[in-house]
Symmetry: C2
Subunit: 358 residues, 2 copies
């Protein structure tokens, strides 16, 4: 059995469960590599994956003997098979945050376990700590992202639309080995950059505009996430002060991130420094990243939790001046025993593209 399934089996045994139903496809991918629609059943002695005809071939080619997963076409699984999966099981775990109430009732009726037990995100919590192979894939996703950014610095010109830049980013990722985008690219220029979650619109870039680009790709399922705020033609003076404040805090956070550091304190430090300067941190300072773009841990002033080695998180302070402009600078970083390593490595000093010739 592969290491991740072995880990899960030990974990649920410790929780006095004799099996678990895994319905969240990202958790299934984490445990088995499978990318499909279906359900993974960890029974007393076996692992079963139930899917439909569309996915059978691909699922079989993904699995190795080491995974020890028996694959079923759902049309071949009858009432008695379902009842047998968890026969004589007292407690069977399920994902209470993922499945609907109606699915819960369906599982209760179908699998005949004595008790379906909530598992409180055990797999999501384990996914916080990345193994060597996962770190390699995350590094690769970040490397493509850095290269894409270098390309953008040459590509972006005054007069282009936000959408045009977003399309170019997607094109670049697909052309350079990524699976695709990790999320809808944000290209927010001028006033649009003052809204933290603006998407890309048909607005054209004007001289003096802020260009906030928040983007990332997926490589073999693993995500990258980076934001850089750059300027079209020239950098207005009033913006420079805010830029420097955000950058100072991003670099300070970088110094503080390491195993054992407390998330709440690190985020508070940024919020405090922003407030001393008449601003505040209006969104989280960061988030875990892996197979999902947003994973545990949440890095915010509300989370009293210590960082651990091999967590991969984002470091993304931002300041937004309503109706004027915003600045956000974000890296994806790997937590180590002694500090953190930026997996995205693009220059963070302010950059002016399509510079005005003087």
């Amino acid at each position: 059995m592969n290491n991740k399934i072995k880990w899960l089996r030990e974990k649920i045994r410790g929780l006095n469960m004799q099996g678990m139903i895994i319905s969240n496809p990202i958790n299934v991918k984490y445990l088995t590599g499978i990318e499909a629609e279906g359900v993974l059943l960890i029974t007393r002695k076996e692992n079963h994956y139930i899917t439909d005809a569309r996915y059978l071939e691909e699922v079989q080619s993904t699995l190795t003997i080491d995974d020890e997963v028996i694959v079923h076409n759902i049309v071949d699984v009858n009432k008695y098979d379902n009842e047998n999966f968890f026969s004589f099981c007292e407690n069977v775990g399920f994902e209470e945050n993922y499945i609907s109430y109606a699915q819960y009732k369906d599982y209760m009726q179908k699998y005949k376990a004595n008790n379906l037990e909530e598992t409180e995100n055990i797999i999501e919590k384990q996914r916080m700590i990345k193994d060597e192979h996962e770190i390699e894939l995350l590094k690769k996703a970040c490397e493509i992202t850095d290269n894409c950014f270098s390309h953008l610095l040459q590509y972006i010109k005054v007069g282009m639309t936000e959408k045009q830049i977003a399309y170019e980013i997607e094109r670049y990722f697909l052309k350079n080995g990524a699976d695709g985008l990790a999320f809808d690219t944000i290209v927010a220029t001028g006033k649009n950059s003052s809204k933290p979650h603006s998407k890309a619109t048909e607005k054209k870039i004007e001289l003096g505009d802020t260009i906030l680009i928040d983007f990332g790709g997926k490589y073999k399922g693993y995500c990258s996430d980076m934001t850089r705020t750059i300027y079209a033609g020239f950098l207005p003076e009033k913006v420079k002060k805010v830029y420097n404040l955000v950058l100072k805090n991003q670099l300070q956070t970088e110094k503080e991130l390491k195993e054992g550091a407390n998330i709440r304190i690190i985020a508070k430090n940024v919020d405090n420094d922003f407030k001393l300067n008449g601003h505040s941190l209006i969104h989280a300072l960061g988030h875990g990243i892996g197979l999902d773009i947003h994973e545990l841990p949440i890095v915010s002033t509300k989370i009293d939790q210590n960082l651990k080695e091999n967590m991969v998180i984002t470091n993304e302070p931002g300041i937004y001046i309503p109706e004027e402009f915003g600045v956000r600078i974000e890296d994806t970083v790997l937590i180590t025993k002694s500090g953190c390593i930026n997996l995205t490595k693009s220059d963070k000093n302010y950059i002016v593209v399509d510079k005005v010739k003087q």
Copy 2:
């Protein structure tokens, strides 16, 4: 109170419920026009919408006095407010297919209703029948889609990539008054068209390629959905026969769609004719469409249900020859007492773009 909320109040009264918790944002939009994150509570005498600071302003500007919805910022709603919403209610409805088991438990604990009762998609079922205003918006979404297709016929050339065409479609919708895309555009060319759910890739269009385009936009929240299969340079002979078989069945279905017609029989007719010709209908013949791209009813051989006036559904037979090519032709149609009206009206005879000069 607006008509849709009035309808819901009568409906739940008939089901012996004294209130309902609506969590699905599309159902909230249907009932109130609100597009935000939050929960709508239909209590004995009042309607409450609980959201957060990000959405307050927009929610307030969407609602009219006629809606009679009281809006709350979630941070101002305390434990006692929650307990009061459904005090003395025996049965309160909830959306068992939408909320997670964990949310269900949270609602049970928070709202203190005696019993949370499953509502079996009552709102989704009502959404099947469109009112006059909804039909106007659907017509407009379809009109932009037709215009976009006319534009594409001039735009598409041999050598372009699938992605390039998909981007052009998105650009066209945004530029011509749509909210955006209704779903990820499918542009499947050559062999890619043999997979019904292919997306757009970096593949370049070659001479003689099939170009299957499945696309739609949203207009004020309402979706359109249309597929046309066209050809680059010329139409290969072997493809023409399949094209004509799909078109014949699409037109035949068009004749059969009307109030009272049975979904299963209509879908069976297509499947039978395909089988007589050595093919089969491997996906549904269509689906309801409205605020969601896929709504009730499902139009397939498994659904024994009669159509009703003012349903809006798609009519989309397709044939796929593995590793070779696919043909799908799809319209969005309005069901009437005596027949159906195509809301998408683009030409369905085969069209050759970037024609080879002879």
